[in-house]
Symmetry: C2
Subunit: 344 residues, 2 copies
């Protein structure tokens, strides 16, 4: 992948936790960049950001700001994506959008390259809108782990409970966890700002907003996006999304019923061979995935893989991934790499 002279890349939300991670990933993966445009909110206008030993100045989004941009990566609010993603695409840029706005649109591919690269390639070859979505930060790692299971044993039902870190809610949420925790330890009072209840030393079974059926928007997203990426629109799946007092990396307790019988040894081999998966499963040496060890790492880590005899062909596994990486920035840049290779 070496487009002639490199590409003009835009990042919308460059000062956010995911935006910063995107810059890291672009740099470490030596993305072929000719020019870089960084967009942020008015508050960050003029801020200088170091990328590969050069400084780039943050701008606000303005009419015609995407002219000449080859690929625009969006990780901003839903409102920003609603307004500016079509604008960027109309200006001729390929857009990789991490908001939820376009994910479930029939005409928008929802991509996790390890799982449905073919959908992206097909879209590139027959492109119209140039808008590609990346999924929710719990979904990207989950579908990578589910892929070899689906392909080899079939998926009958998935029951998920999540342990989601606060970085999924942005840098203010990370500050809130740290400052609330310090206040708690000092026996000082505090008022929650980002979360609806205290997050220090507390679990919140509430991410996003509540819907009519008692599920949260996060829980709906998790199920619907998993279905779309795996291309099983009637996949039987349920989830409980929980915010836990960890700073970064989401963990997931996944119960899976397969269509066909399977053996642990085969399953471990298949997971080990799966692109994007790293198996960490040696309980006798206390080896299993842990959030604090996964920050800044690209793979989805799986462990605690074991038969569940309460249902036919069932298993449990524990999955941890850096929600800022595979859950957001890395996944978007991986999509960008495919775009760069196939288009320019």
């Amino acid at each position: 992948m070496k487009p002639n002279g490199g590409l003009k890349i835009a990042i919308v939300g460059a000062t956010g936790v995911v935006g910063k991670e995107m810059l890291d990933v672009l740099c470490s993966r030596k993305f072929p960049i000719r020019d870089l445009v960084l967009f942020a909110s008015l508050r960050s206008e003029g801020k200088k950001i170091n990328f590969d030993n050069k400084f780039f100045t943050c701008q606000t989004l303005k009419p015609r700001c995407f002219e000449g941009v080859d690929i625009a990566f969006f990780d901003a609010s839903d409102d920003v994506s609603k307004e500016w993603v079509p604008n960027a695409a109309q200006a001729g840029a390929w857009v990789v959008d991490n908001s939820e706005v376009y994910r479930l649109n029939v005409e928008t591919p929802l991509i996790v390259p390890e799982v449905n690269r073919d959908v992206l390639l097909n879209y590139i070859n027959n492109n119209n809108l140039k808008i590609i979505s990346g999924p929710n930060c719990t979904v990207a790692p989950l579908v990578v782990a589910l892929k070899p299971i689906l392909e080899n044993f079939g998926l009958k039902r998935v029951v998920l409970s999540t342990y989601q870190s606060v970085s999924g809610a942005g840098s203010l949420a990370m500050n809130e966890l740290k400052s609330q925790t310090q206040a708690f330890l000092n026996k000082n009072t505090f008022t929650p700002q980002v979360f609806p209840h205290p997050i220090a030393f507390n679990c919140l079974p509430h991410i996003g907003s509540f819907k009519e059926d008692g599920y949260t928007s996060e829980e709906h997203k998790t199920v619907n996006e998993t279905r779309k990426i795996l291309n099983i629109m009637n996949l039987k799946m349920t989830t409980t999304s929980v915010r836990v007092p960890t700073l970064n990396c989401h963990a997931e307790s996944v119960n899976i019923e397969c269509e066909k019988p399977w053996e642990i040894k085969t399953l471990l081999e298949l997971l080990s061979k799966q692109e994007g998966i790293s198996v960490l499963d040696d309980p006798s040496h206390n080896v299993y995935p842990l959030g604090i060890n996964v920050t800044g790492k690209n793979p989805v880590f799986v462990g605690r893989i074991r038969k569940d005899t309460s249902a036919e062909n069932a298993l449990n596994l524990w999955l941890v991934s850096d929600n800022l990486r595979k859950g957001a920035a890395l996944n978007a840049i991986q999509i960008g790499e495919i775009l760069a290779e196939k288009n320019f």
Copy 2:
């Protein structure tokens, strides 16, 4: 309940987190106490503990130390229970033991009064060994919530993921979470002592010890004890037990498949009427059970009750209870109250 002149009560493990809670519960529920004997380890020998405005001195366990004791509550190590529970019973005391040692013995009743009081009453009337077990701290609240569901709709399968606080591992574990968290915030190094890995801002999918089948001892206990208390030895159930960085109160994400169809309204009514349950379920006002609000409270709080359409007659719920109370001290004292009423 007012045995003549009150009972002689012993607490083994009186200085532990559960022992202290037992004293609180005995006092607040006005347990009919004539005399109180407090046992602790050598380290705490001679320590004076205030109970109902009188001071009692901690002793170590010695031969014949249970003579004259009516009820002995044990919340100490498995080793202590192995050695001293039979000793206390042979001395004529009724023993309520919170260790795992006797829980699955065929001849030992495993009791959660709201669920299987009848088993205890039957045992009292036909007593031999005078040893009664209380269950694991995740099991006691779970079976109280499962009871009305079982009785009205039947249980087909339960898939559980837990969010267990560090107090379940004792006061040293609580200190470890606090001191590690402070060290982390100060960017100081620390070495885990109680847990196999850092617990500050981290989730550990590891409670107890690992077994051949990849499950932990905690996960085995959770399933086996639930089966015994509900008296469904072939109940289809699987669990993933996870330690989270919270100080007190366990939370549980519970997926339940029922035998029969049910309606939300009926289920809410049944749960609301269940002794020991408090329903907190008003998502539109961000009302659901939260660990930080439950410390020191007796009920098992349930919320986020919703249909799960991924399986027939299925539901999800979120349960929180004070693991030191219903999970340990309160449950034991409730058993003691029945013993006091029926025996003395």
